[in-house]
Every structure is written in structure tokens, then in C-alpha cells.
């Protein structure tokens, strides 16, 4: 049994039906645990006071904003190479979730930035590249909406996603050239000896797991909706021809 068999829409539907409620339940459990632990059972930061706790929303949403785009890129490549419809629909389904994640990251960052940096917004490289990422998402979604034929739309958005990824990475590094940053370095990385202090680190990991599960659940649900919408369209077309 290979991974590609899940590209069959019928198999995908029957397999995701039992998974979907579980992923929602797990996402809810992780998010509630992580946020309650983070908000009420961790100490205030020495300098930042209680504002540090926005990290439990800001870091996971920023992480998922980028990962959602990467998932769309992979799904687009799979669609271009192997032409599995579920893959194209999954890319389409992930885009609005990615937009919302980007907005959460931008807004929570602004709310934190006002007391800490004295401003809601600064033209800092990280902030700016997130705003550009937001524009890329908007263009991608607008192109999907604008084209009526669904296969053409899938093809064109896939090419846009691939080209857009190259330019998104270029912009990400170009803005460093243009302005030095106000934003602190990474809160998390795999090879650092120490990330944020352990009291903040463990609830943060729980929150990240919750956001990942929530993303999976939302994308699965939206993909199922897209597949059903596609089936309705096919049935209607058949009805007209009969």
C-alpha cells in the first residue's frame, strides 16, 4: 500500500471521516492545555512582565503561516507532477487557513510591540516579510477565485505558488539588506543549545502541537468540502446533459 493511494478521492474521504473529529478533539485538548498552562501557570518575565505570554499565540501562528505556504508548495508540486486532484484541492484549502495564521501573527505581534517597542508596527525585516507573505496569499486566493475551469485554476495557481515561493524567499532575504531588524532572533531552533527558558518552552511546545493539529483538522475539513463541492458540480453537469 503506497502513500499515493490516498490521492484517490473516495479513499481520502473514507479515511478522513474518522480522523477528522479526532484531530479536532486533539487540537482542542492541546490548545486548551497549552494556553491555560502558558497563561496562568508560568511566571511573568523579568523584563517583559505578563506581555511575554503572547508568545503562546504569536510563535505557533507565525510558524504555521510559513508551514502552510510550504505545504501548499508541496501540494502544488505533487499536482503538477502527478496530477492528483486531492492534492490541488488541499493546496486550495490550506490558503485561507494560512492567511488567518499570518494575520494572527501580525496582530499579536503588534499588540506585544506596542508596550515593548513603543509601536504597533515597524518596517522591520521579519514584520515586512510577513506582510509580503500575506500579499502572496491574497494573490494566490484571488487567482483561484477568478478562474472558472477548476483544472486550469489548479494548474495556474500551482505555477504561481512555485514562482511565488522563489520570490518570497528572495524578498525574505532582500529586506534584511534594506533595514536592520528590531525583532529578536528565533525563539526556537533545532540546533540551539538553549531556546527560551524551560518554564516557557514546554507550554510553548504544547501550543505549537495544538496549532499544527488545528491546521491539519481545518485543512482536512476544507479539502473534504472542496471534494464534495466538486462532486455536486459533476452531478449537476451530468443532470444537464441527461
Amino acid at each position: 500500500m503506497s502513500l499515493w493511494e490516498y490521492a484517490n478521492p473516495r479513499l481520502f474521504m473514507s479515511w478522513t471521516r474518522p480522523v477528522l473529529p479526532w484531530s479536532f478533539a486533539l487540537a482542542g485538548a492541546f490548545l486548551v492545555t497549552g494556553l491555560v498552562w502558558g497563561f496562568f501557570f508560568t511566571p511573568d518575565d523579568f523584563r517583559q512582565g505578563s506581555t511575554v505570554k503572547i508568545i503562546y499565540l504569536h510563535v505557533p501562528s507565525a510558524l504555521m503561516a510559513i508551514n502552510a505556504w510550504i505545504m501548499m508548495l508541496v501540494a502544488s508540486l505533487v499536482w503538477v507532477v502527478r496530477r492528483h486532484h486531492v492534492s490541488a484541492l488541499a493546496a486550495r484549502a490550506a490558503a485561507p487557513v494560512g492567511v488567518v495564521m499570518t494575520l494572527i501573527a501580525l496582530f499579536t505581534g503588534g499588540i506585544w510591540g506596542q508596550p515593548m517597542w513603543g509601536t504597533y508596527w515597524a518596517w522591520d525585516p521579519r514584520l515586512t516579510s510577513f506582510l509580503i507573505l500575506f500579499l502572496f496569499y491574497l494573490g494566490y486566493i484571488a487567482l483561484w477565485e477568478a478562474i472558472e475551469d477548476s483544472d486550469t485554476a489548479a494548474d495556474l495557481t500551482a505555477v504561481l505558488c512555485i514562482v511565488g515561493s522563489i520570490f518570497a524567499i528572495l524578498s525574505r532575504y532582500a529586506v534584511h539588506f534594506w533595514n536592520q531588524g528590531l525583532h529578536q532572533g528565533s525563539s526556537l531552533s533545532l540546533d540551539a543549545e538553549q531556546n527560551v527558558a524551560d518554564v516557557f518552552y514546554y507550554p510553548l511546545l504544547v501550543c505549537i502541537a495544538g496549532f499544527i493539529l488545528l491546521f491539519i483538522a481545518l485543512v482536512l475539513m476544507r479539502t473534504r468540502t472542496e471534494i464534495r463541492a466538486r462532486r455536486i458540480k459533476a452531478l449537476q453537469a451530468r443532470g444537464r446533459h441527461a
Binding site: L135, G139, V159, V163, I166
Partner: protein, 218 residues
């Protein structure tokens, strides 16, 4: 290829507004800015590099939807696709024709408009060089965007939404080079990076343009 280039240039010239419209638009943007920010010479000279670059970018954007629209409507795009000339090369020629009709006149006119905005005299060579290096990238990226939206009836607004985020690196390095030139700093690194982006655009985007055109002609 040369024949296609000549044909596109002749069409742009005879249809009128190919050269003129973009330039007039650029002039209007430059004239409107002092009304918006006030006539003080020192403010204008500080923002002149950015205004000139943004103005050139918007002027280039203005004529993008005409790159493929007419050819798509009268069927010559389908002929191009079946001709022995690879569609990748056709896309590149289209970008070149767009650059000659908009990017090149904009580049040549920009120093004049810089004069209107009291730009620092040290910035002029950098403005010319950075526009000369950067505007071909604008045309190539725009050609890709035009190919993406060619099948749509009202693709103009969507085209700007798709293309403008892709313009970010070019604009950023171009304006930075001019700003550094105005401040008397060394702008070589910005110019080199910008040239790299332009070269990369011409290496990758003709293929993307051709792929997208084939999908739209299906």
C-alpha cells in the same frame, strides 16, 4: 524571433500610447508627489529615489495587460504556440518588446524627472544604471503575470495584485542603490544583487511564462 520583436514594436508604435502613455503616467506621478508632501526641496530630494522607482514600477505595470491580450483575442497567440519558435523564446521576446516600449523610455526620462524632484546630483548615474538593470526584470515578471491572467475577462486588477509582490526585491535593491548613491556611499553591492535578480528572472520566468500560456491555450 527578430521578426516577432519587430512586429510587436510596430504594433506598439502604431496603436499609439505604447511609448507615450507610460511616460505620461510617470510624469503625472512625479508631479502629484510634491502636491502630496509639500514643495520643500530637502524633503523632495530625500524621497526622490523612492518616488522615481515606485513611479517607474507603476508605469511599467500599466501596460502589462496588453502584452498578450490582443494576441489572445485574435488568435495569433495560438499561432505562436504552434510555430517552430519555442513558446519560451516568444515569452522572452514579448518581455523584450515591453521593455523597449516602456522600461527604456522610463529609464531615459527618469533623470529629467529626478531634476524636478531636486534629487542629489551624485545619484543620477546610479538612477540610470539601476533602472537600466532593474526594468528588464519588471518587464519579465510582468510578462509572466500577463500570461497568468490572459484568459480572464477582467484580469487587470488581479494582474496588479499578482505582480506587485513579485516586484519587491527589484524595487528594494533599485531604490537602495539610488539612495546610497545620493548619500555618497558605495552602491555596488545593491546593483550587483539587482543584476542577479534580473538574470535569475530571465533564466526562470520564460519557462514559467510558456507553461502558463500552454495551460491558458488548452
Amino acid at each position: 524571433m527578430i521578426a516577432l520583436l519587430k512586429r510587436d514594436l510596430a504594433l506598439a508604435l502604431r496603436a499609439g500610447g505604447g511609448f507615450g502613455l507610460g511616460l505620461a503616467f510617470f510624469l503625472i506621478v512625479v508631479v502629484l508627489v510634491p502636491f502630496g508632501v509639500g514643495p520643500e526641496a530637502d524633503i523632495l530630494s530625500r524621497i526622490a529615489p523612492g518616488i522615481l522607482w515606485v513611479g517607474a514600477l507603476l508605469a511599467a505595470l500599466l501596460s502589462l495587460d496588453r502584452i498578450f491580450a490582443l494576441d489572445f483575442e485574435d488568435g495569433s497567440l495560438a499561432l505562436l504556440a504552434t510555430s517552430p519558435l519555442p513558446l519560451e523564446a516568444a515569452g522572452m521576446v514579448k518581455a523584450a518588446a515591453h521593455w523597449i516600449t516602456t522600461g527604456l523610455p522610463l529609464t531615459l526620462a527618469a533623470p529629467l524627472f529626478g531634476f524636478l524632484l531636486h534629487m542629489q546630483s551624485t545619484a543620477y548615474p546610479y538612477l540610470l544604471i539601476s533602472l537600466l538593470i532593474g526594468t528588464p526584470a519588471l518587464s519579465m515578471i510582468g510578462t509572466f503575470g500577463a500570461a497568468l491572467t490572459v484568459g480572464l475577462r477582467r484580469g487587470g486588477l488581479l494582474l496588479s495584485l499578482l505582480v506587485l509582490p513579485l516586484y519587491v526585491p527589484t524595487l528594494l535593491f533599485g531604490a537602495e542603490a539610488v539612495r546610497r548613491g545620493a548619500a555618497g556611499l558605495d552602491a555596488t553591492s545593491a546593483l550587483v544583487l539587482q543584476a542577479g535578480i534580473t538574470a535569475g528572472c530571465f533564466a526562470i520566468l520564460p519557462f514559467a511564462t510558456a507553461a502558463v500560456l500552454r495551460i491558458n491555450l488548452r
